[in-house]
């Protein structure tokens, strides 16, 4: 894979995201693959943020360290990032705001000054168009042809009238030309893939709610919390079109209880939150478990403990999600590794929830939520709607009992009002009818009924996703969630060096796949890679399989896992240890 890494840095409010989005679209249309991530602070204006796009000639799912093009909208960008420039890396900077420049680059011809606002001013256009100048300038390093970019600007601004479109095109062209004049046409452009399949461009916080819409979600309630808010806003924005109710709750407790109320009546219902909000939901998680009400909860993790780093990433809620709420009850925890998987897993979560009548938690995190990728078309036809056991005919009649004892613990649901039967559900311990009990016998049976569902669910867990050398590997790297792409690329790099390394991604972390022990017992050195301090996946696997890995890579600085970080930490393990 050959890739090219663009990092655009500036203050919040300077339009990083706008510039980034224009470029993402253009890059994707040109046929490249890409992975784009966002690094931002918990504030609305100022500070230092960046938007980073890595484009490649093959599908790419992770960030890289070296920067091929640094675009500086503020001073801090140059200071903070220039040392990460590759040998041939360029800096586009605004001389009006950037004063100090790296000495050793001064005469390299790789410093490209361009004052975006001045360009706009000179062309008599309004300041806001500076973003288009920047996009044009950047594009000059990617392609000889600015048409795609111009098309996108036209589409974006057509609703504002022809003049705005024309202005944007003009300033973009100017930016393009200035850079071209500076670097000349001979600067090598990143190679494009030969084949151009139909593809989609989207980020986690689009894929997750799209999965829910594809699953026919009908009701959502949530309280905003970074980095889950995008899911909530997406559903709200598509509520009318897709026939969904998104009700903003007064707090997370209300949100989860609202969806429990909705799900009880028979609709698919979900919420989305992050650590602190998830904490407030755990009491009701137990209610969903006890009363056997199917709900889907997206927990978009960010670094804790407590409020932590609200806009950064971590995988620190795993054990919390697994142990969440008092007592034992069936639940499932899924861990999509990229937007594509997120789409299918959210849809799967609704099936699991309804088939087993239990809560299902989907673990997202800031890195998954905010990162864009180019993927194959998401296929609606691959999504089944398995609504689980619902009482039919006589079953739904006056003798209906909600918690009928069955062999696999699954009792037919009835949607209240859909039959003559009455649907009595309770979070206290109850009998088959749903009424409160005190005796040990019914308690035991009801507990065993619920846990039988978990045992069944444990036999139908999503299989681990393997990559790299899957036959007789010497090394195995195991991860879950958003580290998937970084682990995969690390495996590829190692295998390029003629290593025999297998990567294992767990899309479902609870219950764990029962056949995971096959992998755990391979005669190979095994490492767990995850973004938290205490090694939560490691502890979870150990608790189930009484097993320890040979080593681990744990990141807890709030930044996303990346292949180079993994390789550096493994240095001496895999590379030397072999």
């Amino acid at each position: 894979m050959r890739s090219f890494n663009i990092r655009i840095g500036g203050e919040a409010g300077q339009g990083l995201v706008s510039i980034g989005n224009i470029l993402l679209e253009a890059i994707a249309r040109e046929g490249w693959y890409l992975f784009a991530n966002q690094d931002y602070e918990s504030r609305i204006r100022g500070g230092h943020n960046y938007f980073q796009i890595r484009l490649a000639d093959e599908p790419v799912r992770a960030i890289q360290h070296g920067v091929d093009l640094l675009v500086a909208l503020d001073k801090a960008t140059v200071n903070l990032h220039w040392q990460e420039l590759t040998q041939s890396g360029h800096i586009i900077y605004d001389p009006r705001v950037v004063d100090a420049l790296p000495e050793d680059m001064k005469d390299s011809g790789r410093l490209i000054p361009i004052s975006f606002e001045k360009v706009v001013e000179e062309l008599g256009q309004p300041k806001v168009m500076a973003n288009a100048v920047a996009a044009g300038a950047i594009w000059a390093l990617l392609s000889d042809d600015i048409t795609v970019l111009q098309d996108i600007l036209a589409e974006m601004f057509i609703s504002k009238g022809e003049a705005v479109v024309e202005g944007n095109r003009q300033v973009a062209q100017a930016g393009f030309d200035i850079v071209r004049n500076h670097i000349g046409a001979e600067v090598p452009k990143p190679p494009k893939p030969t084949e151009k399949r139909p593809r989609m461009l989207l980020k986690g916080n689009e894929a997750l709610p799209l999965g829910a819409l594809a699953a026919g979600v009908r009701f959502m309630s949530a309280y905003p919390m970074t980095p889950s808010t995008g899911v909530t806003e997406f559903i709200a924005g598509h509520a009318e079109e897709c026939g969904v109710v998104m009700e903003q709750a007064e707090d997370e407790i209300s949100a989860i209880n609202m969806i429990i109320g909705a799900a009880y009546t028979g609709v698919r219902a979900m919420t989305a939150t992050s650590g602190g909000g998830f904490a407030l939901m755990t009491e009701a998680l137990g209610l969903a478990g006890a009363a056997e009400i199917p709900v889907v909860i997206i927990d978009a993790q960010r670094p804790g403990p407590s409020t932590g780093l609200p806009t950064r990433t971590e995988q620190g809620d795993l054990l919390y999600a697994v142990a969440g709420s008092s007592g034992d009850f069936p639940k499932a925890v899924l861990a999509p590794g990229d937007p594509e998987e997120a789409f299918y897993l959210v849809a799967h979560a609704f099936n699991l929830a309804e088939e087993y009548q239990m809560p299902v938690i989907v673990m997202s995190d800031q890195h998954l939520a905010d990162s864009h990728v180019v993927v194959d078309l998401l296929d609606l036809n691959r999504i089944e709607h398995r609504r689980g056991l619902v009482a039919q005919g006589d079953e739904a009649g006056p003798d209906y009992v909600r918690y009928r004892f069955t062999e696999d613990g699954i009792s037919p649901r009835l949607y209240p009002g859909f039959g003559e039967g009455l649907v009595v559900s309770a979070g206290d311990e109850h009998d088959e009818q749903g009424h409160l009990i005190e005796d040990a016998e019914t308690r035991t049976l009801m507990m065993e009924k619920r846990m039988a569902k978990l045992e069944k669910a444990a036999r139908e867990v999503l299989e681990p996703v393997l990559c790299g050398v899957t036959e007789d590997p010497d090394f195995v790297l195991i991860g879950w969630g958003s580290t998937k792409g970084a682990i995969k690329e690390a495996v590829e790099i190692l295998n390029r060096d003629s290593g025999r390394v297998m990567g294992v991604h767990l899309p479902q972390v609870y219950p764990l796949p029962q056949n995971l022990d096959k992998i755990l017992n391979l005669p190979a050195r095994k490492y767990i890679i995850e973004s938290n301090y205490t090694g939560q996946l490691e502890r979870l696997i150990a608790s189930e399989f009484a097993w320890k890995p040979d080593g681990s890579v744990r990141r807890y600085d709030g930044r996303p896992m990346d292949p180079e970080y993994i390789l550096a930490k493994l240095e001496g393990g895999i590379r030397r240890g072999k």
């Binding site: 009701f219 209300s254 209610l287």
Partner: protein
């Protein structure tokens, strides 16, 4: 009353003999029967507490949830299936202590449900600790020096939040209770009915006799429930005379009217439309 059998059930209750909850239970059955509802159209949502057990003793669909979470659960159920008559039932601890925030916001949202609050001025089920409605000076196991806090006036608060139906009734006045519950269920919007409920075990102050000597029907006394300021003023009356009846009623848009997705009927009846979702997905296809 043969009429009443449609909602009556013969299950043994877990309440103390003489508890005010019995009056509420039978008044509720009677009101719903008189409204011509059938049990499978009605959903009772409750939290945890003595009042919260009520749904188990009446015919109907039941969602007995967590302490304090009665209102959001009822709201979710109603938004998902407006065909159901949703009646939320809870204690004063459930509704005003643990659930206080939901109370505030349910009133604001004006979701079209009925909310019955059994006001016994104590936490009954946990054995008599002070509740937000306990009178000042009341000594309980957690307030050995007497309750110090200003009692929570839910009627005044609901009026302040522009609650669209705000009423009070009394467990010992069957006719009034039935009448009030009927009006509440028929009201379009969030209907709060506080029910004065003697707790014979833990509340030796607010007894049947206490209320018998004090309650009067404020509507019969000429109160105009469309006058908000006067309703608020009236809600402070708690002494020799205690008003019951409808304090305030106003027509304002209900929550479901705000959601375009509900225009075509209950969500729970809505079929999945793959075409629409495909359309959304297609927007992400790279040109």
């Amino acid at each position: 009353m043969a009429n009443n059998t449609r909602f009556e059930i013969s299950r043994e209750t877990a309440w103390c003999p003489g508890c005010g909850n019995f009056g509420i239970l039978s008044g509720l059955s009677e009101a719903l029967t008189e409204l011509g509802l059938s049990p499978n159209q009605v959903l009772f949502v409750s939290g945890i507490g003595q009042a919260g057990k009520t749904p188990h003793y009446i015919k109907g669909n039941v969602l007995n949830t967590l302490h304090g979470r009665t209102l959001p659960t009822a709201t979710g159920a109603k938004l998902a299936n407006a065909d159901l008559t949703v009646i939320a039932i809870g204690g004063d601890g459930d509704g005003y202590a643990e659930g206080g925030n939901h109370f505030l916001h349910a009133v604001r949202k004006n979701v079209n449900i009925t909310y019955l609050v059994h006001v016994n001025q104590v936490f009954g089920l946990t054995k008599g600790q002070a509740s937000p409605t306990s009178g000042q000076g009341m000594v309980t196991s957690t307030t050995p020096f007497g309750v110090a806090n200003e009692p929570f006036n839910a009627i005044a608060t609901a009026i302040t939040l522009n609650g669209s139906f705000v009423a009070r009734s009394y467990a010992g006045d069957r006719a009034h209770l039935v009448k009030t519950i009927k009006a509440a269920v028929q009201h379009e919007g969030f209907a709060l009915v506080e029910i004065l409920q003697p707790c014979v075990t833990f509340n030796k102050i607010n007894t049947y006799q206490f209320y018998r000597e004090r309650v009067y029907d404020l509507n019969e006394a000429g109160h105009d429930p469309t006058d908000r300021a006067s309703a608020w003023e009236r809600s402070w009356e708690w002494g020799d005379r205690i008003p019951i009846g409808i304090f305030y009623q106003v027509s304002r848009p209900t929550l479901d009217k705000q959601h375009p997705a509900l225009r075509e009927g209950p969500l729970v009846r809505r079929e999945f439309n793959p075409g629409v979702v495909q359309q959304v997905l297609d927007r992400y296809i790279v040109k």
